[in-house]
Symmetry: C3
Subunit: 134 residues, 3 copies
């Protein structure tokens, strides 16, 4: 079963916690165990898992990526001016595969699921496929 | 069902669009919906998803990785001289999980599936597993 | 079926080969073909696939990441002092999806599965889900 989430980013580079929205889909489907694939339908955004408790962590990830891959680096040739966002998207990756156990995402104590915006602000779409065991 | 693609890279660092070849496998299997795992069987190559329209994007990704991880950086110790290619392989990752909907890969408008060569030119192999729903 | 591995890291940054331990789980389950998801339950560690033969490769990956994302870079704001480890975790990613064929992980000749410690030494947990075909 494939569902879609629509998101609005507000910054150029930003991590947005989507854990609760994905767990709502799992809960609405009545799924107890299985797996869940989260896939971004864009080429300047990604999906990651990282700390959900201290918001400094998501800011530090975005700002470290900004330093590793500077906007408008002199060697970029893509004419739209967002080559850096494309590179970041491939460094983070377009998808995550998560496990579902007892009706919830199987995550460590501090883990949260993040949509990573690298070329916002924009409206974005994420595809979610859940697949129950048995 | 596991199939294999054989690819020939022509450059040291190069992204090769394999979307059409993977969709041929899906189509040949008569698969309508499900998922598709694409896995590189090498340690100096990866798989990513990024823009397929403007070829400048794939060049920019390869050249940004070349700058982040320079060939023959003084601190590398691997004696084969291709340590940079191994690091890039782990930054991009060896595999992607894709969704299949209505007989095609579920991709955003600009997305394409890329094999990423980091130590070419060579002949390479990619394993593809498709798994139909129901 | 979800199983858990417990690991002890001994260094701050370290790649630990877990191929044999995951293959023991596959073998114990009597599984011949299917897939295997490996997911880290922490936010300062990751999972990758890279060369298992020359130990210089895993050291080079860890030391290149140390250079790309320096500990205590001046712009980090996370108060626990391990922001670099969080960034590395997202660059490498928290999980890998592997294929199983003839009772073993489908890996290229030189590939091994690695747990990547970025904030050790610690005790860590990894979730493994195996899913047989048919």
């Amino acid at each position: 079963m494939i569902s879609y989430l629509t998101l609005k980013s507000r910054e150029r580079s930003e991590l947005i916690d989507i854990t609760a929205r994905v767990e709502e889909l799992i809960s609405a489907a009545g799924m107890r165990s299985g797996c869940c694939d989260v896939f971004v339908l864009h080429t300047t955004a990604g999906i990651t898992v990282n700390e959900g408790a201290d918001p400094a962590v998501k800011r530090d990830i975005a700002s470290c990526l900004d330093r590793l891959v500077p906007n408008n680096a002199h060697y970029f040739t893509h004419s739209e001016g967002n080559a850096a966002a494309h590179v970041k998207a491939s460094l983070i990756g377009p998808s995550q595969r998560l496990l579902v156990d007892r009706g919830k995402l199987l995550l460590g104590t501090w883990q949260a699921l993040y949509f990573c915006e690298f070329d916002g602000p924009r409206e974005r779409r994420v595809a979610i496929r859940i697949c129950a065991d048995g």
